[in-house]
Amino acid sequence: MMAVETLRVTNLKKYFFTKQGVVKAADGVNFSIWEQETLGLVGESGSGKSTVAYTIMGIYAPTQGTILFKGKDISKESKKRSKRFKKDIQIVFQDPGSSLNPRRSIKQILELPLRVHRITNGSRTDQIEQLLNMVELPSDYMYKYPLAIGGGERQIVAIARALATNPSFIVLDEPTSALDVSVQAKIINLLMSLQEELNLTYLFITHDLSLMRNLATRVAIMYLGKICEIAPTVEFFKNPLHPYTRMLLSSIPVVSKDEEELKPKKIISRGEIPSPVNIPPGCSFHLRCPEKMDICTRADPMMIEYAQGHFVRCHLYPIETG
C-alpha cells in the first residue's frame, strides 16, 4: 500500500525574539503526516506543540525550515498563501468559549467561511443546516448564540465551522482538554466518524497520552521545541524508548490494573520543564533524565530509526542499532 503524504515538515524552526532572550519554541522539527491518518503531537505546556500547529496554519511565518502541503511549499504566513490552500487546511482551537464570537449567532459563525471562500451550493440556510446535520446538532441551533449552549456543543460548532470549507486536513489543538470526559467521549467519537466519512487527515495536538492511545495512528512526543520520539501508536505504547516518554507514561493516573501494568516501572518524575529562553546545552532533557550519561550534557543526540517507523532522539540508542 502506497500512502500519500499530506504534510511534510522539515527542520521547522520558529524563534520568538523577546527582551529576555530568544525563545526557541520550535527548534528543528521534522515529521510527515500521511493521508487519512491521525498524528498525535503530545507535549507538556511550553513544549512548542501549539507553535508547530500555528506555523502550519500560517498564523506565524517559520523562522527557518519548510512545510510542504500535498507537495506544495506553504512555509509562509497565511496572508501570503493562496486561498485554495487556506480552504484545504482548517483548525479547531482549544477553548470554544473564546474561539467563537459571542455576539454572532451560530448561523453567522458558520456562514463566514462560506462567504469568504464563495462556496455556493443551494441556499446559505440549507448549507448551514447540512453542516449542523453533519455534526449531529439539531438545525434550530443556527439561531442560538454560543453562550446559550454547553461547552461541548460549542466545540461541536467550532468543528462544523472547520468543516464548512470542505477541508482535507484539520489541525485539532487540544479540542477536548477544556471538557469533561463524558463530553470528550462524544466529541472524539464524532471526530472519528467524520474522519472516516470525509477522508480527513488530522494533526491532533494534546497532552493526553491515554487519549492518543485510542485515537492516533502515530504518536510524536515533543519536549522543549524538539521531537524526542515518534512511532506508530501500538509500537509506541508497547515499547516506549525515550526516558521522557517513559516518565510521561509513568505519571499518568489510570483507572484499572490492566493499565497499571502498561506503565513503565521505576521512573519517578522529577525536575521541572526548563524555561524555553534558557534551554540546557546538549540534550535538553538531561536535567531531569534518570539515565543521564556524560555525553548528554555536551552533545544533542540525533534522531535515529530504532525499529521500522520508530524514531528516537537519545544517546541511549547509538546510531549502530538503527
Binding site: 463524558s182 467521549a185 497520552l209 491515554s210 492511545r213 485510542n214 501500538v234 489510570v254 493499565e259 521541572e272
Partner: protein, 325 residues
Amino acid sequence: MVEKLLDIRDLHVQFDVYGGTLKVLNGVNLCMEEGEKVGLVGETGCGKTTTAKSILRILPEPPARIPKGEIFFKNQDILKMGSRDIRRIHAHEISMIFQDPTASLNPVFTIGDQLMEAIKYSSIEDGISKREIQRRAIQSLQDVALPDPERILENYPIQLSGGMRQRICIAMALATRSRLLIADEPTTSLDVTIQDQVLRLLGILVQEKETSTILITHSLGIVREWTKRVYVMYAGAMVETARTEELFEKPLHPYTQGLLKAVPKLTGEGIAKGIPGRIPNYLNPPSGCRFNPRCPHVMPVCKIERPPFFTTEGIHQVACFLYKE
C-alpha cells in the same frame, strides 16, 4: 470506635439569582473519620466546590442560602457557629488548597509575607516570635521540597512556576497544622509529570502530619491512585460511595459506570460513546433522581421519587433504585 471528624447530613444549598433559585446541592451526605483520605469526584458543575465552600462557610451569602442540612465537625454544627468560632476553624482546624495557585496567591505580596501571615494567624495563642514564624516558614518550604527557601520567601508569585506556586499553597495549608485539609483540584492546572510530583508530595506530607484529607477532583485516575474511599457526585448529590478499589472494580451507579467507560484507557480499547445529554439546569432540575433523563436504565419510579442510599456490600452504598433489595 474511631471518632467522626466530619459528618455532612442532607446539605442543601441554593443560590437566589435573577430569574429564580438555583437548587445546587440537593441533600449531600458525606462522612469521614480522623486520618482518612477521601476522594470526591464528579464533573464540572456537580457541586464539588460548593460542598467544600459550605464546609468552610465561605460561600457568598447572599446569593447562597443553606435552607436545610447539618455539617458536624468534631460533633459541632459548623452551620450554627458564630463568626468567632468560624475564624477559629479557619485558623486551626480546616485548610483548603484551591485549583488555581495563581489566583489564590496575592500577586503584590511576597511569598514570605503571605506564608508568614498564615502561620501567624494560625498560632495566635502561642504569642509566637517573629524569628519563630520565619523558622516555621522556611521549614514548611523545605517540607514541600522547594530548593533555596530563604530566596523563595523574598520572591513574588509571578517569579515562580505553576508547580512551585501550588507547592507554596500546599505549604501554606499544612503550615497551619490543621486537622482537615480540603484539596480542591490541586493539580488540574499542572502538567502531568508535575502533577505526579505534587500529588506524591502531598501524599507523603498528609501521612506524616496525620492530616485527614478530602481530595476533590474530576479525574477518576487521581482518585484511584490517591484515596482509600471515594464519593461520586452528580448534580448536587452523592450517587455512590465505596472503598476506592471496590468502586473501580465494581461500579454500580449507571452514572459511575458511564463515567468510567468514557475515560480513555492506556490499554486502547477505543472510546465509549459518553453519557448522552448534559448536566441539568439547576433552576429547574428533574424531579426524582436527577440523573433520570440521561440514565440508560430509567424506570418510572426514578421520575417520581428520589433514591436513598442502598447498601450493597460492606460500606458500598449507591443511590439508585436498581439496587433496592
